[in-house]
Symmetry: C2
Subunit: 434 residues, 2 copies
């Protein structure tokens, strides 16, 4: 790329991906001997734990996103590039981007995971995942449009179909999405329609395992199921999906009508990880690094975050969650600094900060500080922790405001359909000057 | 459509368009003898006066939009339909929609205006207007992407081109957009890039007339020009656009490079108005109704808002602004109630509430309460009036928060690129549970 990068004696670290792992690495590499280039295909860091609230019209996209270059603007040794990662050439120590190539001394691959369909990628078209703002915005559009279409049609069967939604996957994302969707239909929208009764919407939550939220106790999983059913969600347990098509999902022999299907059932490594030829990949296309997170025989290349499949030296399987990604990103960066300091590298050890999932208004489950929580305390804890980890005071204030508003008024602040596919001509008067 | 509409003795009024005129009409028609169907292609009422702030990353789309059916949820005699208006059959008294047809007793056409290119519609592709959230969101994407691309490229000429922007039209929208764009480049983005200096961006404001903001005094127009130039905007007066192409605009012989061109120079009636065969249309395809806003020989059909070209009985040319639209919508509705009350219809008289335009931080011009304002007082007045007329307390609080934040921190809350064209696969770790 540009010439200034050549005449620079500092160690050049390229970080691929500006998620939790990538950002933590950049922060950790705040060292005069190091020059960092952060590459992401998006211009923003996304707080994915709240993405389902964008899809269900509770929050606006910008509430949970921050421009990467703004987050890092105070760190002069970081250059942020919004670009596509095409290939990694491990032998030449080069990364090929959409707009050029970059040479590195060290590389941290933190490209995250993408929605996985267990080899049935043709399902993706009918059952999008929930990993980017574009996916969340499109889902919001499709969900809100289904209710609008149901109001315009006079065909009863069509109405029922338009008011049927299927969420696949009983993990936190699936539970949170199904709960938010049920509340949207049964409480938020209920007074706004004249021809349909939104509370008659069918929300199905489908899970192949015999219980929801497998990482929690049976008692917490059972509580979650009961709460969801009380909110009007039909929970299908031990029900693997055998077919997904336009407008339907087949679950253990039963065909479920579905105007909108949301896939929250699995993740797999990003395609670029496959070019990490040095690395052994697991079935999900995830990288299996050495204990220090570097690649076998590639000490200058590290993997961090969701694309890592690792059991740490203490025998703990590292989960695909934000705290694990943050810890891995920081660890990889510290190993680079250790090299510069001629120090020994250390093995990565995952610290479990606990886990939590919200079900709906005043209802959540959590395992934090060694304590099992459920109900309102868990929900309050969930809100506090998410506000705390959300980047940017402005976003915190905005999200807090939205949550308080929804809680007091049973409203959602972002029930807006913005269809970038539609011809953009106005139906409202041009209203310059007041 | 559905049968219940047939077995209803109430007078059926169809309102086309949920802008300022349409909403005012619905509100006015809160009468037990009347049944109202509001049709809009969007699911939301849009506060267009602040749309330029969405395009320049200051506000998120949902901040200035409200779901129409929610605004009207407390008014039981209104049914809101999100649908496309295809045709109006004046003889059969029917409106043909994308999902069916509706018969009316009275019709209020308030479909607003769309961006007009003086017959050069091929320019639309290169110079989008600013009338819908979709247009604003795409413009925000294109503006932010231009800076990102400039940072990734190493070609200096390409960089200069990518940092050149042209706003066509010296009315309030053009002035506000150019000012916000200059502040974005010179103040907001200035510390966030490493290879480019955003403050070297070129923002051109092009106006065919010899002055900006023609509705204001020469002194106010001159103040506006000076302020914009002080903010780094190059103002071209008496400069009609002769050509618009991919990446350039030709202004009185001079070719201006332009990574993003924004068209704020004219409006014309929506295509549907052409099917109002009873009505005489002006060059801009706008309706010229009778003094009471009904169509000549079609007493049951009214036109209101931006698609109206009217000089009222007092000889005042009614401008295409929000207050005029609101007044017209209310007036049309009152004439329908007058018929039901066997009362005389009245001619529409426009009440000028004054006008205002903001230039940038602490700078605006206004003519309100018979007083000419400029500078900080005008800017403060502009903010207060816009917050007051913005619908929904939640949106008011959100916008106020964003404005205070930008004012104190020189930041913008929505510098997020959401490209719904892009393949939606995540680069950030999946971060469920905290």
């Amino acid at each position: 790329m540009s010439t200034e990068t050549i005449t620079d004696s500092r160690t050049h670290v390229i970080v691929l991906g500006g998620g939790f792992a990538g950002l933590a690495a950049c922060r950790q590499l705040n060292d005069p001997r190091v020059r960092v280039t952060l590459v992401d295909r998006q211009n923003h860091h996304l707080f994915q734990p709240l993405l389902y609230q964008v899809a269900t019209a509770g929050l606006a996209g910008p509430d949970i996103a921050q421009p990467l270059r703004h987050i890092l603007s105070d760190q002069d040794n970081v250059t942020t590039l919004m670009d596509e990662v095409l290939r990694v050439d491990l032998d030449a120590k080069r990364v090929e981007l959409g707009h050029g190539a970059l040479a590195y001394d060290y590389l941290i691959v933190a490209l995250g995971a993408r929605t996985g369909y267990f080899g049935r990628n043709e399902w993706a078209r009918h059952a999008p995942g929930l990993k980017t703002l574009a996916e969340a915005t499109n889902l919001r559009r499709d969900l809100l449009l289904a209710f609008e279409r149901a109001e315009t049609t006079s065909d009863q069967a069509e109405r029922d179909r338009l008011l049927s939604f299927v969420v696949v996957g009983g993990g936190p994302t699936g539970v949170e999405t199904a709960g938010a969707l049920a509340e949207l239909a049964r409480r938020v929208l209920v007074d706004d329609f004249r021809r349909i009764d939104p509370s008659r919407a069918h929300v199905h939550l489908v899970e192949a395992a015999p219980k929801l939220l497998t990482m929690f106790t049976p008692e917490q999983s059972e509580y979650t199921r009961k709460r969801l059913e009380k909110m009007g969600v039909t929970v299908h347990l031990g029900s693997p999906v055998s077919e997904v098509g336009e407008g339907y999902v087949v679950v253990s022999g039963q065909r479920l009508e579905s105007a909108v299907t949301i896939w929250a059932a699995g993740v797999e490594g990003s395609p670029v990880t496959r070019t990490l030829t040095g690395a052994t990949l697991d079935r999900g296309g995830r990288v299996q690094p050495s204990p220090d997170l570097s690649l076998p025989d590639r000490r200058e290349v590290f993997a961090a975050g969701d694309l890592v499949a690792l059991t740490d030296v203490k025998g703990v399987r590292v989960p695909g969650v934000a705290p694990a990604a943050t810890q891995m990103g920081g660890h990889a960066a510290r190993q680079i600094l250790a090299d510069l300091n001629r120090k020994e590298r250390a093995a990565f050890v995952y610290t479990d900060k606990g886990s939590m999932a919200t079900i709906g208004r005043s209802a959540a489950v959590a395992y934090v500080f060694g304590i099992r929580w459920k109900g309102f305390p868990a929900w309050f804890l969930w809100m506090s922790v998410h506000l705390m980890f959300l980047l940017g005071m402005r976003n915190r204030i905005g999200v807090f405001l939205s949550w308080m508003w929804s809680y007091c008024r049973w409203q959602r602040g972002a029930r807006i359909i913005v269809d970038l596919r539609a011809p953009a001509t106005g139906t409202a008067p041009d209203a310059k000057s007041a």
